[in-house]
Symmetry: C2
Subunit: 259 residues, 2 copies
DNA sequence: ACTCATAACTCGTTAGGACGAGTGACGTCA
DNA sequence: TGACGTCACTCGTCCTAACGAGTTATGAGT
């Protein structure tokens, strides 16, 4: 029967006590926490209060709760998959996507036609409602079981001008890059990284645990004249994967980047 | 009185109905949702059920709830701050950190001495319990009000060998890089990006809304012989900031990256 | 017209109760 | 011995009830 007094609401005091016990190591990772009934008597509170405290800890990603079994301290293990966001070429000029070979396609790719949104239009330097080729892939890393959602978007307007893209806009990235390079294009890439909570369909598709954000990457392939050719998006659970970049120190002065 | 029947629990059906209404535009961003009492009569359920549904939508980051006012549709605005993770040099060799000038120090830096953990030791290619200089900064972007937590870690063992670091390990990054370069070091950088839910102290320090993950960056500065010199960590709320990288296509074959 | 107390709304917290559903151990029966 | 059903334990869902606390509009009083 621990005494609690500190700050604010009862359930927050209970949550703080449990959190402290976890972070101090009293409850080891993967170990079973006391049941709701035990916590009720231990802190002298009602079940809603205990459940409220547990809900707070779940939202922090500190514990996992399994129906019929109990609450477990989540092991804050490192991500098991490091995704190198780099593009390499073998001496004979062939593109090699780091990690590109480990990804399998868990389903048949889904190809479709769509239009730019405000967000995708901005990245492709287009207005809204511009026509696009779209291709969605569900990728799977058999080694770790990690899943990722991949999307390729190519504007009609670009495919009209670039034969390599009109031929088959639904190729995989490495094939597209190679084709473009063979046609004489000098490619550059820029990538933005964001994180957010998953929508329900992303949560089920990626098989994410509670309180797990997703990393959302947007990679734009540019031509030598800085015209955007391809937009690729990758969504992946942040519990299993991390991104790795090599940072280059170029000789040009930095430009302003706020927008 | 909308009818609901679909899947699983009652509160999930209610949550799905509200979510659908939001995503379909029936409830515009920043608009006020019906109150709990109204939702109770509208769906014919009790208050706990309504609150459970609302809690689910909060955890998804879809709505914000303000005590005494109501629930509001969160505007899924783009991040207002794009952080260029690039290192540039002016023609005379001076380092320029993109965005480096916009950051102010919201507090006096906190310097201390600590030891490697399993995670930081791995990045610095050291064992555990190796002595480190530490410096924590709370950064502030006055333009957007965005806050970020920055940490610099330098091993004693490195400072012993590299005079530029022993002199003052608590300088800001740009000054450290310049000093090292003047001393003849050829620097390279690698960076890993992860996302996770914030701990309570991070949540308050960074002033984060509900269901907002943080982006966690770890940048390692390497010497020309690939020895790690400096580890920098940056933690920032994913609601306000995104990261931008330029991806280089180098000529070397890719190495395996799984670990 | 202005000030300020009150009322009426909002969500937040806590309690108590009841039943459903997943899990695993135990014991019975074949 | 083995299969299987029961039971006790876990968390999940749903309800009623009451009060606290923040916000805003209303209206009375000055």
């Amino acid at each position: 029967m621990s005494e609690i007094q500190r700050p604010g609401a009862l359930y927050q005091q209970v949550a703080a006590a449990i959190r402290e016990a976890i972070l101090s190591g009293e409850f080891a990772p993967d170990s079973l926490l006391p049941s709701e009934a035990q916590l009720m008597t231990r802190y002298g509170v009602s079940r809603p209060t205990v459940r409220n405290a547990i809900a707070a800890l779940r939202a922090e990603g500190l514990i996992d709760v399994r129906h019929g079994k109990g609450s477990f301290v989540r092991s804050d293990g490192q991500p098991s998959l490091t995704i190198e966001r780099r593009i390499s070429r073998t001496p004979d000029g062939k593109f090699v996507m780091p990690n590109g070979d480990v990804w399998q396609e868990a389903e048949e790719p889904h190809t479709y036609r769509t239009h730019t949104t405000k967000a995708t239009g901005r990245l492709l330097q287009l207005g809204e409602e511009e026509a696009l080729f779209g291709c969605d892939r569900l990728l799977l890393d058999p080694g770790t079981g990690t899943r990722a959602m991949h999307r390729t978007l190519i504007p009609f307007a670009v495919a009209d001008v670039v034969p390599a893209l009109a031929e088959d806009p639904y190729k995989r990235s490495g094939a597209l890059y190679r084709q473009l390079t063979e046609d004489g294009h000098k490619l550059t890439w820029s990538e933005t990284v964001r994180a957010r909570m998953p929508l329900p369909d992303e949560r089920t598709t990626l098989q994410l645990p509670d309180a797990t954000p997703i990393l959302h990457l947007a990679r734009v392939t540019h031509d030598s004249d800085d015209r955007p050719l391809i937009l690729e998006e990758l969504r992946i659970g942040a519990d299993r994967a991390e991104l790795a970049y090599r940072i280059s120190a170029d000789k040009q002065p930095a430009r302003g980047t706020r927008h």
